[in-house]
């Protein structure tokens, strides 16, 4: 088995290749996810379109207060970028907590989102930050909020032949704090049993003005625990209220039994780690 490898330097060329070869083509950037599926024999494309030479897809920039990360920026670039760190330190940490340095030097931010693995770190954090991807196809360009991008395990709402060009993280309201934590009971480079990404902003009287809680690795997509958010919004975030919200996050989780724990255990860990994440945000 083999495939023809194409490495266009223009985005239009890449889109044309994907349109021409249809189901027989697969787009890659760092190709870390692709190579795993390919070596397992689960993907058998005749054409692979490499995107790393398309310069317009790279780079990290500030766009009027929003953070824009190009699709082919690597995780390593994102974790070390002063722009990312200034925008949201927890986002930099989420990128830094993916797998190992070797993987992070190769794997790209856009590829990670297109792969739609619910156990990955950046999707949960970016969803908590209300990010959206810019997607382009021969038909034009559109913005897809992350809540609409992830449909199922390894499944996105991208149309065939459509590519992510960048992810856009809106400016955070002043005073917003963010956290990313994950539970790794096995090894440091393993997938998480559960991860929690959260943002929280308090008003001057100390009550919660805004909050977002997202669970990773405990469902077919990252899950926004909206009932937990509702329990906190407008309330004083004392220990009891946070415990109540964390219990609601447990109910929002939809995990399966696997080597990283039974479904019941993962639900309980979703509660524990949500409580920890929220406490860190009001400490």
């Amino acid at each position: 088995m083999s495939y023809a490898y194409h490495e266009p330097s223009e985005l239009d060329e890449a889109l044309a290749l994907l349109a021409r070869h249809g189901d027989d083509a697969h787009a890659v950037a760092g190709a870390t996810a692709f190579m795993l599926l390919y070596r397992q024999g689960l993907l058998r494309p005749s054409h692979v379109v490499g995107l790393r030479r398309v310069r317009s897809l790279g780079g990290i920039r500030d766009d009027g207060g929003a953070l824009v990360i190009g699709a082919t920026a690597t995780h390593r670039e994102a974790e070390r970028s002063p722009l990312v760190a200034r925008h949201c330190a927890a986002l930099a940490r989420a990128f830094a907590s993916v797998a190992t340095v070797r993987v992070r030097n190769q794997a790209t931010v856009g590829g990670n989102l297109a792969h739609a693995d619910p156990a990955q770190d950046p999707p949960a954090m970016l969803l908590a930050l209300d990010a959206a991807v810019t997607a382009v196809s021969p038909g034009g360009t559109r913005e897809i909020p992350l809540a609409e991008l992830f449909v199922d395990v390894l499944t996105t709402s991208l149309a065939p032949g459509e590519l992510i060009t960048a992810v856009r993280v809106p400016a955070l309201a002043p005073g917003t704090r963010a956290a990313y934590v994950k539970f790794l009971p096995r090894t440091a480079d393993d997938y998480a049993t559960v991860s929690v990404a959260a943002t929280l902003r308090r008003s001057e009287d100390g009550r919660v003005a805004d909050v977002r809680v997202v669970l990773g690795a405990v469902g077919p997509t990252p899950i926004r625990a909206t009932s937990a958010e509702d329990a906190l919004r407008g309330a004083a975030p004392d220990a009891a209220r946070i415990a109540e919200a964390a219990a609601l996050a447990r109910d929002a989780a939809d995990p399966i039994d696997d080597v990283r724990g039974s479904a019941a255990y993962k639900r309980e860990m979703a509660r524990v780690w949500t409580e920890r994440a929220l406490r860190s945000l009001v400490a």
């Binding site: 599926l37 024999g41 689960l42 993907l43 058998r44 739609a116 199922d152 395990v153 390894l154 399966i256």
Partner: protein
Amino acid sequence: MKLAHSSTVPVPVERVWTVVMDVPRAAACVPGVSGVSGAGEDRFRGDLAVQVGPVRLSFSGEVAIVARDDAAHRATLRADAKEARLGGSVHASVEIALARAGEGCALRIESDLQVAGRIGELGQPLIQRKADQLLREFGACLARTAA
């Protein structure tokens, strides 16, 4: 791998039973099924296309009704299919049971699935989620077809 699915259909049990036992008609309710034709008494051939994320599978195989009890509304089906794109096979034993539930009908499908070959690399969690999804859509479509 064992899967269980239950749902309630707001249609009398006899009507649902007629559709379920009309295999080509019932098979049209499974998303991705095509080309169903008879292959002898209580045997049918057909194809099934399934997509799991970026992985596309295309099955080709046979379904046989191995036991049926029209009075009790229970049947046992046996499905054997080969996957041509990646290589592999699926063998399934499926128990279908219908029961009266008020004005409607309770549908219960219990499957025991054996997955062999490369498609097994997808892993049980992914296969299970996909199979659950197919069964859910089957149940919903059955309600529309029998209504």
